[in-house]
Symmetry: C2
Subunit: 263 residues, 2 copies
DNA sequence: CCAAGTTAGTTTATGCCGTAAGGAGTGGCA
DNA sequence: TGCCACTCCTTACGGCATAAACTAACTTGG
């Protein structure tokens, strides 16, 4: 019998994601002290607090008072655990955005929520997008975005690409901020300290910066890099503004496309 | 004397990136058998061929006929090596896009080149963006994008966010394809095989899919998911189309903003 | 009620990883 | 010649995911 690589595991993994494993009422052997849900929640907590790099089977086990190996009774491997974490986290997103004020308002609200979600769970952005996890909540998220954007009246082909573009942008915009939040936790150095030290070194190492990078120098001279609000970390403010501006531009672009197609 | 965490290392790292280390003509000790350039090139080759996960100090050393520890004479740590790889790879990008045909054509050409670059070097997308590496070639890339988009006449503040948005989109759009290229190499399963197996499992595990996800079902019924060109892997074609469509939308949005600001 | 079989969890071990520490050989310069 | 900076090696440590074998708890068939 020929079995595709990983196909047997794929069945188990899908069953875990969609929770289709019907457990008999009573089973022989000792009572389970843990559960998939408990393990996934613990893993999410670690990733939220200490970053994806700190997520190890040992770390999860330790928080639950077990060894790393104990987890393998519930979860086939670490990568399956990450998939489960991903889909569990996505459950936070709300699913019924109001379309009464028009699609533009709804998209803005959806994108804002998604952006905040990614920033709250930076590790989510490290889960590969190419071959989707295909869990129920991922489908809910895509369904919701598509449902809203369908209101534009665009055809199915273009619509799919528009949804993809929106995802790319929101994820990318969130990534910058997510990483800037994670960095101080990992390195113990704040944005300001880091930037201060680095810009001094930059001047040292590239004394001809102004001549080599005239446009960036112009941007700097125009005061574009001056922070407005001192209470918010520099890179975070920057990322938030880029998201707001970029989203507006994207929506303008979609409107233009809608107008052109004549919906 | 108080030293900020990592600051001493930061100086050495910047010196390496900007190649400001003046090496004396003759030095005591055995002739170096390797060089930073050689090591970085080898590391890039490994990452290109086998993915970032396969990049280890041992692997790089082995390709060069040395042990892993030999590399530490040239490079302070693996993370510094990754920074050097990143900046080296960026050197591939061309720097003088023609502005004669207008900024829209130039942006299209720049973005297309960047997209292909990311797809060619998928691992580049795994290098953190939050705290930039600040190498010379990264500055060249940002300078070039900013130089082109400055032609729109937008003010410095908005311009910075527009550049950021463009980067988010291009990186995000490339990531999907980059990962879909990497996946078969790592897992040994093609897109088609993978998708075929998974969609069968999906039907098994979620028999009520059509009712739960009406919009996605509509998209499917409209034939939006049917592949046009059988010679190109499915996910790759999908990603390429999303990039093209999304870029056009983004440019429309920028034009709208430019028109509104009255440039 | 007991033996068989199933399950939860442990210990132990394998083979990766980054890199610290220390030692061996190399070659320019005093 | 001896010193010393330098390259490169061996060894070692603590971390990682996880395979394999084991113990102990529990249900169930006889």
């Amino acid at each position: 019998m020929v079995v595709f690589a990983g196909q047997g595991d794929a069945r188990r993994s899908m069953a875990l994601l969609w929770r289709t494993t019907r457990s008999k009422e009573t089973r022989p052997g000792p009572k389970p002290g843990l559960s998939v849900d408990l393990i996934v929640d613990t893993a999410v907590a670690i990733a939220d607090e200490e970053g994806m790099a700190a997520l190890s089977m040992r770390a999860v086990g330790e928080r639950l008072g077990r060894t790393a190996m104990a987890l393998y009774t519930y979860v086939p491997s670490k990568s399956e655990l990450v998939d489960l974490m991903y889909d569990r986290a996505l459950a936070e997103l709300s699913t019924h955005h109001n379309l009464e004020a028009g699609w533009r308002a709804a998209v803005t609200s959806w994108a804002g929520e998604a952006w905040e979600f990614y920033v709250r769970h930076p590790w989510v952005l490290q889960v590969s997008q190419a071959r989707p996890v295909l869990g129920p909540n991922e489908y809910v998220m895509i369904e919701e975005a598509t449902r809203i954007l369908r209101e534009t009246g665009l055809g199915a082909g273009v619509l799919r690409h528009v949804v993809g573009t929106l995802f790319c942008f929101v994820r990318g915009a969130a990534q910058t901020v997510a990483e800037s939040r994670q960095a101080p936790v990992v390195t113990g150095v704040s944005d300001e300290e880091w930037w201060y030290a680095r810009s001094a070194l930059l001047a040292e190492v590239a004394p001809d910066f102004r001549e080599r990078f005239p446009t960036l120098t112009w941007l700097d001279d125009e005061g574009a890099y001056r922070s407005q609000d001192e209470t918010v970390p520099y890179l975070e403010q920057e990322g938030r503004d880029t998201f707001t501006t970029g989203l507006a531009i994207l929506l303008d672009g979609i409107e233009a496309t809608v107008g052109r197609t004549g919906a």
